[in-house]
């Protein structure tokens, strides 16, 4: 039992993972993943000196590939600074990627014949972590919600009606809260407004970047409950980024583990949480504290900080902190290989004949 399960016991109705029902906006069919990301890469250049010479790159997101199925929730976990938020901003095209491609429901994004950025943003929205700075302090919250539809050409009265409707849907009485300013709302209420704002364009996919991390536990449970409810009502697909492993386990259908800008393990939530294979995933899951007072942890399962993403280690990026590191780990970077029906791991110990002395799975 984790702390979260304890609080959420009566607040949260257990939600069944469901297959996406038919949606008239569906283009690629049921089997087509909602989003396919292939080889996404983002290096932030470091410049120094008077001439702003290019002296290196922060490899924030380095060759990341995954897909998000229709109607599922993909949880993304990892330490601070592993590139989770950069990945979210890359998916939203808020920052340009250096290379890589995205396919949204069968349509490539960008390019001459692909899905335009405007259409992508209509279909994909984002909820930010900081509920305070993600609302304009000078706008009543209903105007913030109505802004997106207004930009896409909806009349003012229609957009306002929609905004009030959505505020009601996220559990804020529009008549009471709509005309208020962000500083008059609590953190949980503001995050509800942010969710309403993300819903306003009727998207098919929402990226939740640490959307509940800043809320206290009981409010967090309410908002998670709301997210599950909205997902069924609006037929949504979620990408849920968090550092809270319990929340991710609760809400996700599949989980992606990131380390230093790369995917180290991806698979169904049961596969990742019951039989984690990558040493980093195991250490990460072991670092959750137990509720049992007899089961004390005295040594951290993983120590030290992640290496500098400017000069990541050769081969496997985790080898500097890995207990099983061998020469092959320094020589060769492991690629994602299948370890189960829906379970992929980037570790030499999983692949037969990789040169590593141990073999897992």
């Amino acid at each position: 039992m984790s702390a979260f399960d304890f609080i959420g016991a009566d607040l949260i109705s257990q939600e069944e993972p469901q297959a996406a029902s038919l949606d008239e906006r569906d283009r690629g069919g049921k089997q087509q993943p909602m989003l396919i990301v292939n080889g996404l890469r983002k290096y932030f250049p470091i410049r120094s000196g008077i001439l702003q010479r290019h002296v290196g790159d922060v490899k924030a997101v380095d060759d990341v590939s995954f897909s998000v199925l229709k109607g599922e929730t993909l949880g993304i976990v990892g330490e601070s600074g592993c590139g989770k938020s950069t990945l979210a901003r890359l998916l939203m095209h808020l920052i340009p990627s250096d290379s890589g491609e995205m396919i949204f429901d069968g349509d490539p994004v960008g390019g001459m014949r692909g899905l335009s950025l405007r259409d992508l943003r209509r279909n994909m929205q984002m909820v930010f972590q900081d509920s305070y700075s993600s609302l304009n302090p000078r706008l009543p919250v209903q105007d913030s919600v109505a802004y997106g539809p207004r930009v896409h050409g909806m009349s003012r009265t229609d957009a306002m009606d929609l905004a009030c409707d959505l505020l009601d849907k996220v559990g804020l009485r529009a008549a009471m809260f709509g005309a208020r300013y962000p500083h008059e709302l609590s953190g949980g209420q503001k995050q509800r407004v942010n969710i309403a704002r993300a819903l306003a364009l009727n998207p098919r996919m929402i990226i939740l970047d640490e959307a509940v991390s800043a809320l206290d536990k009981s409010v967090e449970a309410q908002v998670l409950n709301l997210l599950g409810h909205l997902k069924r009502e609006f037929n949504l697909t979620y990408v849920f980024i968090s550092h809270d492993l319990n929340v991710v386990q609760y809400i996700s259908d599949r989980v992606l583990v990131m380390y230093l800008g790369q995917v180290v393990e991806i698979g169904s939530v049961d596969a990742i949480y019951d039989t984690p294979l990558h040493p980093y995933s195991r250490a990460l899951l072991d670092s959750r504290l137990s509720m049992d007072p007899d089961d004390r942890m005295t040594e951290p399962p993983i120590s030290g900080d992640p290496p500098n993403p400017v000069n990541p280690p050769s081969g496997c990026r985790f080898r500097t902190r890995c207990a099983f590191a061998e020469t092959v780990c320094a020589a060769e970077a492991p690629s994602l290989s299948q370890a189960g029906p829906d379970h992929f791991v980037a570790c030499h110990m999983v692949r037969r004949g990789s040169g590593h002395s141990r073999l897992l799975s």
Binding site: R89, M92, L94, L117, R118, R121, R122, Q125, M126, F128, D130, S133, S134, L135, N136, P137, R138, L139, P140, S144, Y147, G148, V151, H152, M176, A179, R180, Y181, P182, H183, N194, R197, A200, L201
Partner: protein, 299 residues
């Protein structure tokens, strides 16, 4: 939030709905209603503005009509309520008419500089990068000179006249207003709600109009209102040096300059334009201060 309304009564009462939610400017106005000092000086400014507007109707004499017989007369001499100047012109009429030019010198350059400087600052702040460097470094060049020196230099180059004086003052105020707008924009631009607006597919212009301007206008407006008194003083200074308004047009600064010679004959009369400048600039300063307090919302 502690509201002063619990302790004081508003000067102006307004009926309102019980659950009505105030907008930002309505809440600013509401806070101002309890600020008696600001309201008092706002009333003085309004009086001065009205007196200046209706100067042609109120002035008892022609402000440019000279009289060799009635030079440097004290207050209350015959029909000259505030006395006469060194050329026998009625002081009251000249003060009323002079308010027009002085207020123009105060308001027009600040308004022009707010529009130009604010625009440049928002562009610099929002675009960042080399656009920011180009605009802000140019502003720094102007910033390097003392404002009085710069105003004198510019209007000296352009030549006298009130129009050139106003242009000079506008150029003096642009850099500081630009810098305020730039820093406010840079601060707002990096916040998540701008990202969220971009994520909903909004164009740059729409983002600036709906999300940036509302957050930048406040600080710029407060700063600009405090510049009005500076502008009046600088304008008077230019006229005093003979670079602003040209005689015989009445202007408080110019009057102060020409009456210098008579200070030992009629000290009270000669001080009048100075008193007018003092009251006006003090009022603008205090009202600006009150505005700053009323607009400062601690969210």
């Amino acid at each position: 939030m502690t509201d002063v309304s619990a302790f004081r009564l508003p000067l102006f009462r307004r009926k309102r709905e019980a659950r009505e939610v105030r907008g930002y400017w309505a809440s600013v106005a509401n806070r101002l209603r309890y600020d008696y000092v600001t309201l008092f000086f706002l009333a003085i400014i309004l009086t001065i503005v009205l007196l200046s507007i209706f100067a042609p109707l109120l002035a008892p004499f022609d402000p440019t009509k000279t009289s060799m017989a009635y030079r440097m007369k004290p207050m209350g001499f015959r029909n000259f309520i505030l006395g006469t100047d060194e050329l026998g012109r009625d002081m009251l009429s000249r003060l009323l008419w002079g308010g027009r030019t002085s207020l123009m010198m105060g308001l027009v350059p600040v308004a022009a500089a707010t529009v130009i400087g604010g625009l440049l600052g928002v562009i610099a702040g929002f675009r960042g990068g080399w656009v920011n460097s180009a605009i802000m470094r140019t502003m720094d060049v102007f910033y390097a000179f003392p404002s009085v020196l710069l105003a004198v230099a510019i209007s000296g180059t352009l030549g006298g006249g009130s129009k050139n004086g106003m242009i000079a003052l506008t150029l003096v105020f642009i850099p500081s207003i630009c810098r305020i707008a730039e820093s406010a924009t840079t601060q707002v631009r990096s916040l998540d709600f701008v990202e969220a607006a971009r994520a909903s597919g909004a164009s740059t212009l729409s983002i600036i109009w709906h999300h940036i301007l509302g957050n930048v206008l406040g600080p710029v407006f407060i700063f600009a209102s405090s510049m009005i008194s500076v502008s009046i003083l600088l304008g008077s200074g230019l006229s005093f040096l003979g670079l602003g308004v040209e005689p015989p047009t009445p202007d408080w600064g110019l009057m102060l300059s020409t009456l210098r010679a008579g200070i030992y004959v009629q000290p009270l009369v000669c001080a009048l334009p100075g008193v007018a400048i003092f009251i006006t600039s003090l009022s603008f300063n205090l009202v600006s201060d009150g505005l700053r307090q009323a607009m400062d919302v601690k969210a």
